[in-house]
């Protein structure tokens, strides 16, 4: 039995039965990392000593008979744009490469309260701007299924770490599919909760109306346990929703009988790869065999979602990233006068893609272009939302590919910013509408994981988990493991 391949709930049970200790578990993960991390490069920072110290504390509590959360003693990786007190948080950017946050993000506090062990901070596209981790200022992360392929992005380090057995679960952030697309590329599960359901306090902002923190894990039960720990209102985040959080673990059901599942035709007509389409058809058949009612539906404005999202995210980024000025934190490049200091700091601190999006955002917000681009994008955002509102009168959830293709090769899209952005075609409409969505693996095509995406109504994460759980319990396609020991 390899501990690094087990799920959180399996590990939790082993610890509850005192078959393993948290220290043994952390050591198993550290040993796994020492063997494969040089191939994957999922981490920016590892927290070896501190992780072991925390594990000893959890073990001591367990020995004393204290009642512990199912996440206690479990190693978690945190995306490097989520603040960790006293631990470097870089956003994979040179402008923050020595930034040490004074406080934990709310989600980190919640996981620490549950006893989870922070094992490291994971690599990403700089500030979340990218879909492959190739735009990390430090190093690209590799896909555990094929080292020449990207792990997806921007939370690619988190997805690769969970897939490769370097963390039992991870938290990433999702602005355009940045949890779901890498989860799909790396054969793990990823969930973007409803906008506002998870507090963003301590998440370093990229596009605030689209950003959302969420989990990456190895099965549905694990996702339910993580949601139980991280969801819920935080008064420090004024966009955080005051909605009750159900017990997602207790609510897991293996039953989709009579559930109406919509298949949006615009996704299947958007140039989905044949081998991906075949797997989607297989999943539809499986769901129908289990009693679900699958019907074709239409989201007519889907083709405009990427352009609207691109405008809105760049506009918000240009404003959010104005804070990096070499004064309060981060890099400063010394210069004679203050304007030159600002300009040189930002020019040396930001990577090419970040500069590009800041320039684009500044352009679409400038008075001559505002109505043509920005206002029009916000109107299309309304149309996108109305499309979803319309289908919710017909179905309970939607099934789409997580991505039109399996993981692409490193270097394939890095020079073509628009092609990179378009690789999030399937995931972007969800962020615009603030909906919850889950991606889960559904077998391999030519050796690479294929991902399904499920989308539900606002605050209806339970339906996502229900469909995912039913697929998981009735097929062997949702649990994948890469073979990293091959030469």
């Amino acid at each position: 039995m390899q501990l690094y391949t087990l799920t959180v709930h399996q590990l939790s049970e082993l610890m509850a039965q005192k078959k393993i200790s948290s220290v043994e578990l952390i050591n198993a993960y550290l040993e796994r990392s020492s063997k494969i991390e040089h191939k994957i490069q999922a981490f920016i920072t590892h927290t070896k000593e501190e992780a072991l110290a925390q594990a000893r504390i959890v073990d001591a509590k367990r020995m004393q008979g204290e009642e512990l959360s199912p996440l206690a003693g479990i190693p978690v990786a945190i995306n490097d744009n989520i603040c960790t007190a006293g631990l470097k948080t870089t956003c994979a950017s040179n402008i923050l490469n020595s930034y040490i946050p004074p406080a934990d993000a709310t989600v980190v506090t919640r996981l620490k309260n549950a006893g989870s062990i922070l094992i490291g901070k994971t690599n990403m596209d700089e500030f979340g701007m990218g879909s492959s981790t190739e735009y990390s200022a430090f190093t690209p992360t590799k896909n555990p299924y094929a080292l020449e392929a990207v792990p997806g992005g921007s939370s690619g380090g988190s997805a690769a770490a969970v897939a490769a057995g370097e963390a039992a679960f991870a938290l990433g952030s999702d602005t355009a599919g940045d949890i779901r697309q890498p989860a799909a590329f790396c054969g793990v599960l990823g969930l973007k909760p409803t906008y506002g359901y998870v507090p963003r306090t301590g998440l370093i902002s990229y596009a605030s109306s689209l950003d959302q923190i969420g989990p990456l894990a190895r099965d549905i039960t694990d996702l339910a346990l993580i949601l139980n720990a991280i969801l819920g209102h935080d008064p420090k985040d004024s966009t955080s929703a005051t909605v009750d959080v159900p017990d997602f673990k207790a609510g897991l059901v293996n039953d989709v009988k009579g559930l109406r599942i919509g298949l949006p035709k615009e996704y299947m007509e958007a140039g989905v790869e044949g081998k991906v389409a075949a797997k989607i058809q297989e999943a539809v058949k499986q769901l129908e065999d289990m009693g679900a009612i699958c019907v074709e539906v239409s989201l007519p404005h889907t083709e405009y979602a990427v352009a609207a999202h691109y405008i809105i995210s760049c506009a918000e980024a240009s404003s959010n990233l104005a804070r990096y000025d070499g004064v309060r934190y981060g890099l400063r490049v010394e210069a004679e006068d203050v304007l030159s200091m600002f300009m040189q700091t930002r020019s040396q601190g930001f990577g090419d893609e970040v500069k590009r999006r800041v320039l684009l955002g500044t352009h679409v917000l400038s008075s001559a272009s505002y109505d043509e681009y920005y206002t029009q994008a916000l109107k299309v955002r309304t149309l996108n939302k109305q499309d979803f509102d319309q289908v919710w009168t017909q179905v309970d959830c939607l099934l789409t590919p997580a991505s039109l293709t399996t993981a692409f090769k490193i270097g394939e899209k890095a020079q073509d910013a628009l092609a990179m952005y378009l690789s999030n075609f399937c995931t972007i409409p969800v962020n615009l509408a603030g909906l919850p969505a889950l991606t889960l693996p559904f077998g391999l095509a030519d050796g690479m994981p294929v991902g399904l995406q499920l989308i539900a109504r606002h605050f209806d994460e339970q339906t996502l988990l229900r469909v995912g759980y039913s697929l998981e319990q009735n097929t062997d396609q949702t649990s994948l493991k890469p073979d990293l020991d091959r030469e």
Binding site: D325, V327, G330, R332, E334, V338, M341, K379, T382
Partner: protein
Amino acid sequence: MRIKAEDVEKLALMSRLELTEEEKAAYTESLNASLDYMHSLTKLVTDTVEPAVHVLPMVNVFREDRVEIGLDHKQALANAPEAEAGSFKVPRIV
């Protein structure tokens, strides 16, 4: 509406970025590629559509006006590239 190198220069100044001539040329080309794509939205007639500002119907988020312990001075300045006398220090402005 396509942008030219001098537009990129203006955007760079507004964005507080310094670009080399080579970068200006490269960004002009790549920004135009993105803007051409974004321009596809103008095909949609949206005269009667309200712009979406929030995805959830949240208004007037208030909280109790209570004193809480925040960051202390030392913590707030801990990441400052340069600090002096309890303040962030910047190059001379006037």
